[in-house]
């Protein structure tokens, strides 16, 4: 069996007395479609922040294709193929979609230090950006400033920006957060259509979506991995039903 695309070992993090991650060991194989679920405050976003380097872990290691990336800066991890999206839109409000994705493509291609040539000479980079936008159904609105785009399109732009870095591993933090249910499946259709070379981990609260799109489900509770298994196993897991559904009743 080939090496996992992304793995963590004994990853731990605490804020003062609050443990947000304890001994997390995960393996994401190439082509994975994993869902990360758990009640609010379980540490799901924190885990993504730890893996992408936006938070430094107290202990533990992170490997990208067997390379230790624990000490790398976030942008360095991105360049090695670990990309993410954000639960709350984190976009370039004043740029249009074409400019934003071209920016990301230029960064990946190492063109972004070039200040003496017009960006329009890099036809390949621009076409690549445009292709990504078309694939994500953003082609016809790519000249509109981001802040004027409808919310659902902005969520897709989040994904487009991440794809422009040509990731091997993509971490999606609630890609359809705040989107009405009928549009939400649109977004997940796009996600499901992504290349199978890509290892994918997504956080999602809607169990229908999770059971429909995930091949494997990881359940986090209180900063630890509570259970992991196929959708059928998780559905049958008595502890998950109790903890997860029980908490949902209150939350």
């Amino acid at each position: 069996m080939s090496a996992p695309a992304l793995s963590t070992r004994q990853l731990s993090k605490r804020f003062d007395s609050l443990v947000v991650a304890r001994d997390i060991a995960l393996e994401l194989p190439v082509g994975a479609r994993y869902a990360l679920i758990g009640p609010n405050g379980a540490g799901k976003t924190t885990l993504i922040n730890l893996m992408t380097g936006m938070l430094a872990p107290d202990a533990g290691r992170i490997f990208l294709c067997e390379n230790d990336i624990t000490g790398l800066e976030p942008q360095e991890r991105v360049r090695r193929g670990l990309a993410r999206t954000f639960q709350i839109n984190t976009l370039f409000a004043g740029l249009n979609a074409l400019e934003a994705v071209t920016l990301a493509v230029c960064e990946r291609r190492g063109l972004s230090r070039e200040f003496w040539r017009n960006v329009a000479v890099h036809k390949e980079a621009i076409d690549e950006a445009h292709d990504i936008l078309v694939k994500l159904r953003l082609g016809e609105i790519c000249y509109q400033p981001t802040r004027e785009l409808p919310y659902g399109r902005q969520r897709l732009l989040e994904i487009a920006l991440a794809l422009a870095t040509r990731p091997k591993v993509l971490l999606l933090d609630e890609p359809a957060a705040g989107v009405p249910p009928e549009e939400s499946s649109d977004i997940f259709e796009v996600v499901a259509g992504l290349s199978t070379d890509l290892a994918l981990l997504f956080i999602e609260h809607d169990m229908h979506v999770v059971f429909r799109f995930a091949t494997q489900i990881i359940v986090m509770v209180g900063g630890t991995v509570f259970a992991e298994g196929s959708p059928a196993e998780i559905a049958a897991h008595p502890g998950v039903r109790e903890v997860y559904l029980g908490t949902r009743k209150h939350g």
Binding site: V78, L98, S112, R113, F115, Y143
Partner: protein
């Protein structure tokens, strides 16, 4: 520009169209030689305006595009001025070499400080640029054996431009020289804004936090932008030293830093022409009001600032484009 008009364009064509010269732009530059013919008495002022516009343009690169609010940009203006002045006094009076020396010394200082600058945002950044500017000002003041202190640098000796044009009292040479340098560096800045690097700077301004998530080395970008901006400010400083044949201590001062920031914001930060328009309006206003008491001048500057922030948040150019958009929509 209306979005619909560009809908038919291919992405590359669209990005090219963004960088095409507009009519207003062309007219603006065609009008710049007019003072030679119609306002010969004001050529010295025109030269000062061109130099200030260059200084404002350099600040706009970091304030308007990279999102670095600097309250100490005069440090580089002054450094360039002293470098060029001292170079002409002790080494070589050829003006173009002097410009290069000014640019190089300023960019070196800018590059060295950029490592500190790039680590901070917001208040700490404002404080650091302010503190650094004050530090250099205090240093120039205490090194009066070299800089002439508050009397200004004496003995600046600039040879005729290109060996042919003398520095006449009317300012024909001074304005021609300043204008050409401004135009060349404006072309450079314009190209920079439309380059991949310029796109990255706009990215930093629009969302600093997202940049690492698309693999961008924001700090390295900020260092580059800061160094380039310092070099341009240094050229502006060198120009002022050469055209006025002296360097005053206040070319490094806090007032100068504050004024240039005011001009950029008055014109409209992050609009390439914002600094130019701001410098033009500000300098002409100051010239017109030069007869009044300085405290009255500062009173109106203050009122103007408050008014711009409250009523014209994107400066003159921002207000104009809003007005035009409103008018077109009718």
């Amino acid at each position: 520009m209306p979005v619909t008009a560009q809908m038919g364009l291919e992405p590359v064509g669209y990005l090219k169209a963004q960088t095409r010269w507009g009519a207003a732009e062309t007219l603006f530059w065609l009008a710049t030689p007019l003072p030679f013919y119609f306002l010969p008495a004001y050529l010295q002022l025109a030269s000062q305006i061109a130099i200030t516009a260059l200084f404002a343009l350099s600040l706009d690169l970091i304030v308007g595009y990279a999102g670095i609010v600097s309250l100490g940009h005069a440090a580089f203006f002054g450094t360039g001025a002293y470098a060029a002045g001292l170079f002409s006094k002790f080494v070589w009076g050829e003006p173009l070499t002097g410009l290069i020396v000014g640019a190089m010394v300023s960019s070196l200082v800018g590059y060295a400080t950029s490592f500190i600058i790039a680590r901070f945002r917001h208040l700490a950044l404002i404080m650091l640029t302010l503190g650094f500017g004050l530090l250099l000002g205090a240093a120039a003041n205490s090194a009066s054996w070299l800089t002439g202190g508050s009397d200004g640098l004496q003995g600046v000796n600039i040879w005729p431009l290109l060996g042919r044009f003398n520095w006449d009292v009317y300012g024909y040479t001074a304005y021609g020289y300043s204008l050409v340098v401004l135009f060349v560096l404006f072309l450079f800045a314009r190209r920079l804004i439309h380059s991949p690097f310029g796109l990255a700077l706009r990215g930093i301004r629009e969302n600093f936090l997202r940049m690492p998530a698309i693999g961008a080395p924001s700090r390295a970008h900020i260092r580059t932008a800061y160094t380039i901006s310092a070099a341009m400010a240094g050229v502006a400083g060198a120009l002022i030293a050469q055209t006025t044949q002296t360097v005053a201590l206040d070319s490094l001062g806090f007032e100068r830093s504050a004024e240039i920031l005011i001009m950029v914001v008055l014109g409209g930060a992050g609009r390439l022409y914002g600094g130019l328009i701001g410098a033009l309006v500000f300098m002409i206003a100051r010239d017109q009001f030069s007869g009044i008491e300085p405290e009255h001048w500062y009173f109106w500057i203050g009122v103007l600032l408050v008014a711009v922030v409250v009523f014209l948040p994107n400066g003159i150019l921002g207000g104009l484009s809003r007005f035009v958009a409103h008018w077109r929509a009718k």
